[in-house]
């Protein structure tokens, strides 16, 4: 019970006549990275919204960090953080002001110190006093994730965190996610990029037409397929490899 960050049993949700979730079950272990895979419209965001108390579900038991989302939404909100599909930063405010605002709303003492630490950790110190509207897509995402880390929530939801990012930005986000998991934070990730799930996740669940059709570790999922055959093919570099080789994956950006 206590080593589960998320427990979902028989979750159903409909919008009027449209059945989006038709009985979803899964569990997420504390401290792991869990990836929910699915194509557009599969219901990924609906699940995230239910787990983050933004949406009420119809039927089923949903527990987050041991708290029921329906009867104890306040406690759930206290223990989670959401990074939605669109970078939810206030573009008129500076990076620093954004972080201070969130720290104040989480009623933490010393918001300035918290903001400074996160700005440094996400290499945003130089841009700290610029309006977020002047940030690049990657910087915006970094600020967005930094805002989610204010107050060190136990569980972080990342809803398609790399959509719209260039390859460098995407690798940066991956690095952050791995660091988060190393520090003991549970990460719930949704994505439509298979590679992303493969790179990051401890466990993967595939959502299709409102149901989880497969779930398990990557090794377990691979076992579902017939054993690998040895074939000889000419290996061409992918465009991504070419791009990164020329641009260089600069760490100190």
């Amino acid at each position: 019970m206590h080593n589960k960050a998320i427990q979902i049993e028989g979750l159903k949700k409909s919008y009027k006549k449209l059945h989006v979730l038709k009985g979803v079950d899964f569990e997420v272990e504390k401290g792991s990275i869990f990836a929910l895979l699915g194509s557009n419209g599969a219901g990924k965001t609906t699940i995230v919204k239910i787990l983050t108390t933004l949406l009420k579900h119809d039927i089923g038991n949903v527990t987050v960090n041991g708290f029921d989302v329906t009867s104890n939404p306040g406690a759930v909100r206290q223990s989670i953080s959401l990074t939605g599909q669109f970078a939810a930063v206030d573009e008129v405010l500076t990076g620093r002001e954004n972080l201070i605002m969130i720290a104040r709303l989480r009623h933490l003492s010393n918001p300035r110190q918290i903001a400074d630490d996160l700005l440094k950790r996400f290499s945003l110190s130089d841009a700290a006093d610029r309006k977020a509207s002047t940030y690049s897509g990657g910087m915006c995402r970094r600020l967005d994730i930094a805002m989610s880390l204010v107050g060190k929530p136990q569980l972080i939801f990342l809803d398609e965190p790399t959509v719209g990012l260039d390859p460098e930005g995407r690798i940066e986000v991956w690095k952050i996610v791995k660091e988060l998991a190393d520090s003991g934070t549970t990460v719930f990730l949704t994505t439509q990029y298979l590679e992303e799930a493969e790179q990051l996740a401890d466990r993967i669940a595939i959502l299709d037409k409102g149901r989880i059709i497969v779930s398990g570790t990557l090794t377990e999922l691979k076992k579902l397929f017939p054993p690998a055959k040895v074939e000889y093919i000419e290996k061409q570099p992918t465009l991504e490899e070419i791009f990164l080789a020329f641009v260089g994956t600069t760490e100190d950006k």
């Binding site: 983050t52 108390t53 933004l54 306040g74 909100r77 206290q78 989670i80 953080s81 959401l82 939605g84 599909q85 669109f86 970078a87 939810a88 930063v89 206030d90 573009e91 008129v92 405010l93 002001e97 605002m101 969130i102 104040r104 709303l105 989480r106 009623h107 309006k131 805002m147």
Partner: protein
């Protein structure tokens, strides 16, 4: 739940601080809000004013209350716009997934609307003073005027929040305020109603703007306000309560 309730005021202060920064960093919104009413005031006083018979010597004095209402009606459309952007950009979802008092988000917008409209009302009164506006009214009358304008702002702000919450596009957000801006034209704000055609006159004399305008005008010129002040207050409070209930209903449905 109770620990969350206790934070209502501190959360609201954070929200107020946030949207006040929005206003101060886009001074053009204050300019757009004040410049149209000021231009109208110049136009009516120096161009049309000579031909308008109001029975008063100083047309600026006659005109000012209506101009202030127009300024507020166009000011609140920015409140709707800011709320709409919050919804669109996902920042509202971030706030709602946090342990804060949810209604503080709306109240932050309401207070900001009150502050920004106060600024534009003061700017317009200053311009009116330069144009020859003068008032024998004492402190109490001015306070009463401030109170009525504040109530009017609150009433319209809650309407604006409904628009901001339910609009599908940016154009839709601002469209709702046009009728509100034009309402003062079909009232006693610019010309006495007895010069109007019977049907128009009946509408003009019974719509909220007329009673509000007449009350403010009476207060500013030290005339007895009579029953008009109660009609004006009833309109403001009535609109505010109905709009508040609707806005809250839409808000709770959205979240």
């Amino acid at each position: 739940m109770e620990t969350i309730k206790n934070y209502f005021f501190s959360d609201m202060v954070v929200m107020l601080g946030r949207s006040m920064r929005h206003i101060l960093r886009s001074m053009d919104t204050i300019l757009t809000v004040t410049i149209t009413p000021i231009t109208m005031m110049l136009l009516f006083v120096y161009v049309f004013g000579g031909a308008i018979q109001t029975g008063t010597i100083n047309y600026v004095n006659y005109l000012l209350p209506g101009i202030l209402l127009i300024a507020i009606a166009s000011g609140i459309s920015y409140t709707a716009y800011r709320l709409f952007l919050d919804l669109q950009r996902g920042i509202l979802e971030r706030f709602h997934s946090m342990p804060i008092a949810r209604s503080s988000v709306l109240w932050g917008h309401v207070l900001t609307s009150l502050v920004s409209n106060t600024i534009s009302v003061i700017v317009i009164i200053l311009v009116a003073l330069i144009m020859g506006f003068h008032s024998p009214a004492g402190v109490l009358s001015w306070l009463a005027v401030a109170g009525i304008l504040a109530l009017f702002t609150l009433a319209l702000t809650w309407i604006a929040l409904i628009a901001g919450l339910s609009a599908k596009s940016v154009d839709g957000v601002s469209a709702f305020s046009y009728p509100l801006i034009f309402l003062p034209f079909i009232s006693s704000a610019f010309v006495p109603t007895n010069s109007m055609r019977p049907v128009v006159r009946a509408f003009a004399e019974n719509q909220p703007v007329t009673s509000i305008v007449e009350t403010i005008r009476a207060l500013l010129s030290n005339q007895p306000v009579g029953n008009q002040i109660w009609v004006a207050l009833a309109w403001c409070v009535g609109i505010m309560v109905v709009a508040y209930i609707f806005a809250m209903r839409v808000y709770n449905k959205r979240v």
